[in-house]
Symmetry: none
Subunit: 421 residues, 2 copies
């Protein structure tokens, strides 16, 4: 069953509102094994709505149109739908009674404009709205020369839309029950680029594979989406689990978490489980690393102190970095990162300390140490070490990647593994 | 000029990701007087992308395609675009050099798969990507029997997409600018809610007014968008300036900046102009305040040190907050905020010090001090003071509002005014 979702609204094409309805509807449909072939959005303009319904219905079995069912002059979905179906709008007596009762109960006269909400194209059916005045419309459309298409027009108000979908549309789709179950899982990595991750996954990323594996990148984090699509739910679950296992084997410790897990959250869990604590000493990230750690509720159990030492004097006075070290190697150097981490660990009384010193730009780079050069130190059980990285992008990305890499190094340290970057 | 926005991605039609790019792009285009006729979204499938490009290009002057430009097998936008244009993909030597330099700088071999990112359809132009490896593509398409359409294909990663639009696409659109001129300005405030700001603006917010004044809220920052739409550019400019002046009169010092100015940037400019410096002492914000200050390039000229004192012991040892004060008033109290600010100012050798101690939640609240209770201190020329706020929302909002309020208090302090909140 191929479905298309059409959203109606000036506020959407003007960019005043982000369309969250389409994503919600798509997720529901995907979970029921119903392919969503496309989303489309058009403004509150009858001709545009008509063309969009016509085009979408011609290539789908199921069309969900959301929005444009309100009582005002810019609500034109029912008129457009009637025009496409080639049928007149007729008053639905039962819904008109409903509407009148709704207003009577509120002791308000029904505005004349609401009357249109009881009108649906001849031959179509009402979808009851338990949360508002606009009913939905359920219509069959047989475009000449194409397959028949079932059209559901529903309100754009998310609460009304969701209730109507769950109670009145989902049962129809389940009953039509062709198609498969899609189960999904997401695995998260940090440290390697998208193409390096893809290289390790090799034929797992074959487009024709089922379960399929795709990659997405967000702020340097490369995630794998695994989608298993099968007729049978149990089979889908087994296949999802087995492909997950293959991805885990291919990527090993690069995977730090799955689904809604975050890097700071996973670090927090590891620290809690081992009863370790961490302190931070930051130069170029200016507090971002500590901010990420403390994004997690309850982080006070493993994080108590951090220093932001933006100047050389601060590195010396607050963390005990020797002036000679700064003079000899410069503030952005592995020896200074090591001294910062050692200083923070001693003064912080923590199991581990992370330090970051680098050039976030846009100024301050040199041929030897270009913008993006960042030294990250980690002090803990083993001898304190520091590594130099070259992060791409602008100031914001460089700072973001630096803090995430520091967390990633801590993760490998706690796991007792050496990081591959 | 009619434009259409096409988004590519399995994650979008599967409902795993909400498409925020289309709304952002639409808002940019609308502000430039460019009507967006539709949004469309299709999966990572070459045939679907080709049909969608073909259909959209046939009825628009400008088509923006976002997503599908990555290096992996499921990135198919460039292939689809080449097929629609009927031209082969060719290596762009300059971008290939860029890519090779990018990997060489990181001392990593370039994965073979990245090579495809240097390929664009013959006759098309590269849009440089300053934040990633995928360049955009700028192509002219003349569909038979339809008007020519300019197609911009850009990455789906929001940061890369936005930079590329602002720097390389917006100027083209502005240059093409037919029809009425729309000149816009945005004024930013922080500290009062949207309805309080709207109340002060009174009839300036009348929907029929030209220039129009609208409010938007983003992370607690209430901004006014002023749009002046006139046939004549000089007239639009005069009207824009005069409405701006009326808004400034209505809101006074609440307005901290305009257009692309940010709160940390404005604070930085004020500190630089007065040759003042600032230090930070943070508890619940865990580094976020210092992170915001150091978001600004060159902030080392006015910010040298910050402390994150998440535990009581850290507040005592690092900032000299007396144990009795903590015992008597609790860590979240105005006396402790004052002691933290004083400690940071003395140890930081700065003109001003800001301190934040509060309950960011979700746990740790009490009837006397519910989640959202935050004390902010400021030490400087005058006697050190602290104020208690009750911020709404979740952990993330409470931390965000706390840091922004601290910056706002510093702004009023430097201006020599008393803050109205």
């Amino acid at each position: 069953m191929i479905s298309i979702i059409l959203s109606i609204g000036d506020e959407l094409v003007l960019g005043q509102t982000v369309d969250t309805n389409s994503a919600w509807l798509s997720a529901q449909l995907a979970a029921m094994g119903c392919d969503v072939a496309a989303h489309a959005t058009v403004p509150d303009d009858q001709t545009s709505i008509e063309s969009a319904i016509q085009a979408a219905a011609g290539r789908s079995d199921l069309l969900i149109v959301s929005g444009g069912l309100g009582p005002t002059a810019d609500d034109l979905t029912r008129q457009a739908l009637a025009a496409v179906l080639g049928r007149p709008l007729e008053i639905n007596a039962a819904w008109l009674e409903n509407l009148e009762a709704f207003f009577a109960q509120r002791r308000r006269p029904m505005p004349q404009s609401n009357r249109v909400q009881a009108m649906i194209p001849a031959g179509a059916r009402i979808l009851e709205n338990t949360a508002g005045t606009a009913p939905g419309i359920d219509a069959d459309f047989h475009p000449p020369g194409a397959k028949p298409c079932r059209i559901f027009a529903i309100p754009g108000v998310p609460r009304e839309m969701k209730l109507m979908f769950e109670r009145q549309i989902a049962p129809h789709i389940a009953a039509a029950g062709r198609g498969a179950v899609i189960l999904s899982r997401t695995l998260h990595t940090f440290g390697l680029g998208e193409s390096s991750v893809a290289q390790r996954l090799e034929e797992l990323m074959d487009r024709r594979r089922n379960p399929s594996v795709g990659t997405t990148v967000s702020d340097g984090q490369v995630s794998l989406r695994i989608n298993a699509r099968f007729e049978d739910r149990a089979r889908a679950q087994t296949e999802l689990d087995s492909t997950t296992e293959l991805c885990r084997r291919a990527l090993g410790d690069l995977i730090f978490g799955q689904d809604d897990q975050t890097l700071p959250g996973v670090i927090g869990d590891l620290l809690l489980a081992s009863q370790f604590t961490v302190a931070t000493a930051e130069s170029c990230t200016g507090g971002l690393l500590a901010k990420m750690i403390t994004d997690i509720p309850g982080s006070s159990r493993y994080f108590q102190r951090g220093w932001i030492t933006y100047s050389n004097a601060a590195k010396g006075e607050l963390l005990g970095v020797p002036a000679e070290l700064l003079a000899q190697h410069g503030a952005v150097s592995e020896p200074v990162a090591i001294a910062m981490a050692d200083g923070a660990r001693q003064r912080g009384g923590a199991t581990f300390a992370l330090s970051i010193t680098g050039i976030a730009g846009p100024d301050g780079g040199s041929p030897q140490k270009p913008v993006g050069t960042v030294c990250i130190g980690i002090a803990g059980a083993n001898p304190t070490v520091a590594t130099t990285y070259n992060f791409p992008g602008d100031r914001e990305s460089i700072r973001d990647r630096s803090a995430k890499m520091a967390l990633t190094l801590l993760r490998y340290q706690i796991l007792g593994k050496s990081a591959p970057f």
